[in-house]
């Protein structure tokens, strides 16, 4: 069948697209976690204007479609970047690559939702711990990364895991501005073969596989982060069993 020959070539293309999807997911997650920590700190700040800034960020991200944010960053950034560059005497045309624009747009989205996750996690740490650290003479920054941050991870992990799964599916949106990730590669295969159902279903199963792999990894990390919660008796039992 003609189909078999085509299948090999396009499968390789789809796998290349999958690698790109994973790359975008990881990059946007990293950016989103940083923004989420900043956002949570802002929302918990004692200074009112900083708090408003955090609230505004979350409010905007929650109400505007991701697709619109992708378009705004990709098509709207050129003029802003060129204006900034012209202040420094640089007058050439500047444009964000689809990869960078996509990572920024999805990182911003991830950050907005992660702000809420981290805020809850910070509030879950008993305030007495902070007081104890202060009594020991620790500075604010040191309390943040020695006392609060290590515990925040643990509480935030399930929430962050869900956000990563949502983000992975949202990376499909970047195909609209031309990044050659899984969805884009699939559309190319569709144009060549005129078999849209076959190919989009194949892509759907590849996304499902990614979701399953990510879920398994996240479950492992979650279990790992909670290993101290195992009751003493049952760990004795494990030792006894061997």
């Amino acid at each position: 069948m003609v189909f078999d020959g085509l299948f090999d070539g396009f499968t390789a293309q789809l796998l290349a697209g999958t690698v790109m999807t994973v790359k975008v997911t990881l990059a946007a997650t990293a950016m989103g976690i940083v923004l989420g920590l900043l956002g949570a700190s802002a929302r918990l700040s004692k200074v009112a204007p900083v708090r408003w800034l955090g609230d505004g960020y979350v409010g905007i991200i929650r109400g505007i479609p991701e697709l619109l944010i992708v378009f705004l960053i990709y098509f709207g950034s050129t003029r802003l970047l060129m204006f900034i560059a012209s202040q420094f005497g640089y007058h050439e045309y500047i444009e964000l690559s689809p990869f960078v624009a996509g990572v920024i747009a999805l990182g911003l989205t991830f950050g907005g939702y992660a702000t809420e996750v981290f805020r809850g996690a910070f509030l879950a740490i008993p305030p007495s711990q902070k007081e104890a650290a202060e009594a020991l003479g620790m500075g604010k920054l040191r309390i943040f990364y020695r006392i609060q941050l290590p515990q925040v991870w643990r509480v935030a992990l399930p929430g962050l895991g869900n956000l990563i799964l949502v983000l992975m599916k949202d990376t499909a949106l970047i195909s609209v501005i031309g990044l050659e990730e899984l969805t884009r590669k699939t559309s190319m295969a569709v144009t060549a073969t005129r078999e849209p159902f076959t190919w989009y279903l194949t892509a759907a199963f590849m996304y499902l596989a990614l979701t399953v792999i990510a879920t398994v990894l996240l479950n492992y990390f979650e279990k790992h982060s909670r290993r101290h919660e195992v009751p003493v008796q049952s760990s004795f039992k494990k030792l006894a069993e061997g």
């Binding site: 409010g59 505007i64 991701e66 619109l68 599916k169 949202d170 609209v176 969805t183 989009y200």
Partner: protein, 227 residues
């Protein structure tokens, strides 16, 4: 920045917003109707019954909405049976394809929310129904489903806002919703910042309206819980 383009084009953006609203409301209503049997089947202890909703929910929650949109809009045309069926005049239209996809997508999520709500009902209420001699059907119709709707209302409100954001994907299949309209205007005016920001503000306003609406519904349905 040239803000006068917004003054000139906002009636067209409002047209787009109206289409967006139709997409969200229609798919939301269809989603709730389909989600009830889906959630009940998912709760069934019979393996042969709960395998279908399980697979359905796994598929629709595990794949991107954009792929689902393409699968229905472009994908269905691959089959001659569908192209020659009486449904084709509907399935050819981007408007109906968008509504079908959004409805199928949100059904999966609402079914999970509804399942959680039904499971959150205290066991004592089920036992009380049995003591009263209610049949299973009456128990679900009169007690469990109304209770579950009250419990799931806040989560359902969130889901509707997520669908509002998801409805922007309809613009990728040439539908002129708020995002699609913004793209069309920009293709003529070359003012992406202004028009996208204006569209974003409109989305924010719509999502606030939905939030207020659901807060009011919550007050009506859950007034027994409020002091």
């Amino acid at each position: 920045m040239d803000w006068s383009v917004i003054a000139e084009y906002y009636p067209r953006l409002l047209d787009g917003a109206w289409t967006t609203l139709q997409l969200v409301v229609l798919s939301g209503v269809i989603g709730v109707i389909l989600a009830v049997p889906m959630a009940l089947a998912r709760l069934s202890p019979n393996r042969w019954i709960n395998i279908f909703p399980y697979t359905y929910i796994f598929f629709f929650r595990g794949t991107p909405l954009l792929i689902q949109v393409f699968l229905i809009y472009y994908g269905l045309s691959q089959f001659e049976v569908i192209r020659e069926s009486i449904l084709w005049p509907f399935l050819r239209e981007p408007y109906w394809c968008a509504i079908i996809t959004l409805a199928l997508h949100t059904t999966a999520y609402i079914a999970e929310i509804l399942r959680g709500a039904i499971q959150a009902i205290p066991k004592g209420e089920v036992e009380a129904c049995r003591v009263m001699g209610m049949s299973k059907f009456t128990m679900y119709r009169r007690i469990l489903l109304p209770r579950a709707f009250g419990i799931m209302l806040p989560a359902y409100g969130n889901e509707v806002i997520l669908m509002l954001k998801g409805s922007a994907l309809a613009s990728t299949i040439t539908l002129l919703d708020l995002t699609g309209m913004a793209r069309t205007i920009i293709a003529r005016t070359y003012t992406p910042e202004e028009i996208y920001i204006a569209a974003g503000v409109m989305y924010l306003v719509i999502s606030w309206l939905f939030m207020i609406f659901f807060k009011m519904l919550d007050r009506v349905f859950n007034r027994h819980r409020l002091a």
